[in-house]
Amino acid sequence: MSTSHNPPGIPSTATDLELLRAFEPVVRFTKGEQFFPMDVERYVEGCGLWLYHPDDHDQQVIAGGELTTERLVEPRTAAFGSVFYLRFIGPMGIEASARALAGLQRLKRQQKYVFRAGLGRLARGGLVPRLLDALFSATLLLRGRVPKATAAAAVLEYAGMQERENKYVYHGRVARHGGWMICQYWFFFAYNNWRSGFYGVNDHESDWELASVYLYERDDRLVPEWVAFASHDFHGADLRRRWDDPSDLTLDGLHPVVHAGAGSHASYFAPGEYQAEVPLPIPQRVKDALEVLQRFWRRTLGQRGGENPFRVPFIDFARGDGLSVGPGQEREWTPNLIAETTPWVSEYRGLWGLYAQDPISGENAPAGPMYNRDGSPRPSWFDPLGFAGLDRVPPPPLELKMLDADRGTLAARQDELDALVPREAEALQERATRLESMEGNPHLARQHERLAGQVAELAEKVKALRRERSENEAVLESMTRRLERQRAGRREHPRAHIRHAAQPVPPAQMRFSRAAELFAAVSLSLLLIGVAALVIFAPDQALAGVVVLLIALVVGESILRATFVRTVNRVAVILALVATVILVFHFWKPVLLAGLIGLAVFLLLQRIRELRA
């Protein structure tokens, strides 16, 4: 618990722009980042508008270079299943692709591109996730995806735009809900190159990220209370940190510091490398079967683990060692105020980049700040409180009033119960006494039955009232304690609301020994070469050889990763299960007889012990 102090803030008469500027975040990028927050106007002017028709063909609506934000929002109709989308990079032939890839290499040399990923991702996942990783990469050949040359062309295009006008922009919005004033900072990026640039999950044209500051009014001042970032894979209350939480939130004066993931642009509170796991899309039947196996593994066999193996580990690099944008940093912000009345915000419901027709949507561009990809309203826009799990949290000055009033209501009910419980308890005793007096009188059977029902009902009622009184007592006590704490200026722990916090993986845990990393890099190729060698030199024993090779690789790697005990146990249990099936299949009669005799002897010994006792 922390003690309150004079909180920071600005006069409540500040305009929306002044408010946004007062708390605008500092965004620290990772070295090697190639896209930074920009204004949508320049982006749109570099795009063409396209329409995907449900019969699977694309039509150019407005050619690249002719589009403006005004033309973007002109009313248009289209059939159900159609998708309007922008194309930052138009269709590219082989020559243009080669030119873009070569241009990117030149640019990297000029910019002294210095991103180094390390091998941590592969070493961390083990052999099975690495096999799945290879499979995941292979699925990109079948799924719709953004071509690599498009990423290269986007880097060049954006670099050109910045060369013409070096500008870093956020789109700021001020919303008022439930006593809170919310400053939303929407960051627009021309491209998300997490996959092609940083070994991540996906690439897509355009990217939106959000940082929010939640303020309340006290003594004619607006005081910041919460900060929420759009950290990927988290939601609700886990997205926000309290202004006075020093463990996670970095503040530069009144400016919260965002650490942006390289290429993904996901926002994190602390700098570091974040482990992200992408579950593979597997059929529901396989998932159900897996669930049954996991239960058997954990509960019946008492083994640890049993987690979903169909997931691929990725790393989101949010090191914060690159360009820093914000007040007093290498680059300053240019704010761009937006609201529902901004036409491109509310009137364009299409995608802000290429519709790659990826069925799992990872490679499709996002829609605008106000809408989801399917055109439905985006909760972070229409419900900024619910987005950060603040819809149930009143601003501090209101909370005290609410708590006091609620405590008064509960105390009044308690007084009521204090009078009611003895009255009802007495009535119950009277009726029960009357009921007892009817015993032994067969002619009163009907009345006895009726009264017995009433007595049972009344007993339940009295029990419920007593329970309510007892529970209220405990609630009142906790409310009183909280009121006293609040009145004394003491607050709850700033992290009390967090269930799952995004934490960077410690480097020691992320990076295994050099030997483990080397093994991780070469093991898959070793396995495949081994299989090929077996097929060539010992075709008759190839299958058996593959099994031995796999077990040897898994156990060998576990030694390097210091997980030998766990791995050898897993392998042993799996082999023992297979052996059990074989033994039962061939010797079911002796197994059954041995089981029966064993059970009989056990029961006999138990009973004899009981008799002797």
Partner: protein, 130 residues
């Protein structure tokens, strides 16, 4: 009980292996020299693992499991691809794995920690019931 059985089984195998090794070396035949040395080394290893299992040493648990993995892989592959497994060996290894794997056994060997007790489990005591 099951751990004691596995440890005793290990000691029995160790005694057998050591005996075979000594006999092979005493026979004086050169062609049995390698066989004798292998049995002696294996016997010493299993003897150490068996004694370690009696004293609930974690390395002994790991040694038994490794032994079982090698033995089971061998027998299962022989069953699947050659059709002539040693079912006794398979059964002994299976028993060793199933005896050494349960949570409480691993806790006893200091390999895992106790789990939290489920306090909300239903109870037959009326004092604890709603």
């Amino acid at each position: 009980m099951s751990v004691t059985l596995v440890a005793a089984l290990g000691l029995a195998v160790a005694v057998y292996s050591l005996t075979v090794g000594v006999l092979a070396l005493r026979s004086g035949h050169d062609d049995r020299l390698v066989d004798g040395i292998f049995h002696l080394a294996f016997g010493v290893g299993v003897l150490a693992a068996g004694l370690g299992a009696f004293r609930l040493r974690s390395w002994a648990w790991a040694a038994f499991m490794t032994w079982a993995v090698i033995g089971l892989t061998h027998q299962v592959l022989r069953y699947l691809f050659l059709g002539d497994p040693n079912y006794v060996d398979m059964a002994i290894n299976t028993f060793a794995v199933l005896a050494m794997s349960p949570l409480e056994v691993q806790i006893a060997f200091g390999l895992r920690h106790t789990q939290n007790v489920h306090l909300a489990q239903p109870t037959r005591n009326p004092l604890d019931r709603d």
